[in-house]
Amino acid sequence: GNDVTPQVLYQADPAAVQAKASRFFMDEISAGGSASDQTTTTGSFTMPFSRYHSITPFLFFCSLSDVQGKRDAMKELVTEDMLKEVIEVYISETDSISLLDIPSTFVSVDAHDAEAIIERNNQYAEVCRNRMGNDKYVDRSMQTLNGEAKNKQVQSDSIVMVDTAATVTAWDMYDTYISPEQDETVCVPQAERADYPEVAVDTSRGAEKNMSVGSSTSTGSVASSLKEQEALGNGLNAESELQLIMLSEKFQHLLLVTERSILGNVFQPKLAAYRELPILEDSDIPMKPGTVEQREDTESPRPPAVECLWAFSCELSRGRSVSSMAWNKKYPDLLAVGYGELDSSNQKPGLVCCWSHKNPTWPERVIYCDSAVTSLDFSFNNPSQLAVGMQDGSLVIYNVQSRNQLCVVSSSECTNKHLAPVWQIRWTQQDLSLTGEEKLEALYTVAADGKICKWFICNNGLDCIELMKLKKIHNTKKKSVLSALSPGLCFDFHPRDSSIYLVGTWEGLIHKCSSSNSQQFLETYRKHFCPVNCIIWCPLIPDVFLSCSSDWTIQLWKQDHLNPVLGFSSTQKAVCDIKWSPKCATVFGAVNEGQLEIWDLNSSILDPVIVQPAAPGVKMTSLLFATQTDCVLVGDSDGQVTVYQLKNLSVGKNSQVKLRNR
């Protein structure tokens, strides 16, 4: 009979692909063919018609295919580029293909030929009724032939199923859209890292960089493969990776942020107190029994006191004496501190540190100077410029914004420069400005060589003009032609009229000068008989200023009175520094070597309201009020700048104190 053994449907061999098109021909040929022996299906895929043992059918097939002209296209090797090609697919609607059409046998009553059909139906019913016992109809039997059933089986390859999963996230799509060109650069590092054999690892890296496969599925496998690998990476690769990471700027920034977070945790109650926020207790930290009692007696009035919050100090500054401090004009929490020994026997090089409250253990910027720093001030117009005056008379302006390029300009080439320690330096904004928008500012210094200079930046250097020479005023009886210059120790510009300023000298005299008159002093105030260490105008009350001196006294003056209005003295030590409170006009602070004193003229003019003694063995050298909170900063000879908070200082409602004329 016919050979109906099922043929293999799928040939893996591409050469045998032609057989597909003409498979049904094969069946017909084999039906009349020469296969005499019982054939079994061969399992081999390569030569399905090897049992014929003759090549004629093969050739026949080839010619058949030729005749047919139907050749299955050779499977082209699909290249990567072809996969990436954009192939346009057009989808259009085909005509309706009817697969099955069985017309209904029901006809609606309303159809136009319904009557004929109803008529026919009736006739048929009539016939059926008449069938019984009618001679017209005779029963007769028939026999049908039943054909032989045969089984036909079809064989097909099982379809290989592969499970893939992908998580599509919004950022995944966003990344793919915005970075098509990054794919080429990414492929290169992947080729280099050939020593990671795990496929899971590769896909995870690919996932993170190409963002094409969902990363959630692959990280699970990476974590499990980690435990099989060496825990700390393999040798050289980890080291070089570490080096690369540690040199990157982003890492340094991350370290900075981390350090600040850690310190934020450590100093949190103190910083909250600094900002006058309520201090929250950490419920995880067990409360110490002592602190609970303190909170109970809040009703009884407590005496004014200072509470030490924290101290800016690091190993760089330890051992050096704080000589001056200044707040930044734009960021009132950035503090610049200058360190330098004030006694000239010890000529250590100086140091300037910029501190931020975000990190009280390490300064944000460290600047090493050639000689001891005696004074510093931040600029108004360029808030990142810091002018520093030094003990050898030189004046340098630094830019603190970047970590690398610090020094902007120095006065070392200037011919008129100071030859003696620059005791005070000030940027001042002038009222008159030509453009009308930005206030002009100028830099002034006073030095121990008796000169007050105004500085300009020109030709990448500093140049100055002399504003005033501090001549010694002798008795009018002896008129000597040569008069030596007396060293100037401090000066301050009037807060409202920037052409008037006061200078304190070594001899204890205070001169009022004008920047337009460089020959004569406008006034001279005499009271101190020792060097005047600091002079400061009151920011809130016009025409009132304070001066302090090494003769253990502090004097309060009014501009038009040649004698001081009030004098204060509390201890027998030289008063180093004095500052007005920026908020309350009757409060000022003074620092002498042994203690910090806060005076409130509203409550007492004989004694300071708050006295804070210095730590043993340490001398307090400078003072600064915080502009936004009730805190004072005290620098001492050990290089520490301690932040104290003023507590319970009752601020009077009136911010002015009437001074009685004497």
Binding site: W171, S215, L232, I245, T258, W362
Partner: protein, 96 residues
Amino acid sequence: MAEVEETLKRIQSQKGVQGIIIVNSEGIPIKTTLDNSSTVQYAGLIHQLVMKARSTVRDIDPQNDLTFLRVRSKKNEIMIAPDKDYFLIVIQNPSD
């Protein structure tokens, strides 16, 4: 480079800091001050957490990215500073 080493030393010596781990993008720790087993545990677990956190932030707004992650627990605080190729983990116990 020396500055970075110094900063790391400073962080290590701050009050309450228990350990610092630097982990690369595959979750393999490359520098650590803790013992081996804790390091591997932290690295593996935190890697997954950071991926999830970053995915969350970016799902809400793809132009945003995660900059810092702090996990405060009863006994300590874990601070994670992530970057594209690595992340830095610091464990601190502030009440120490």
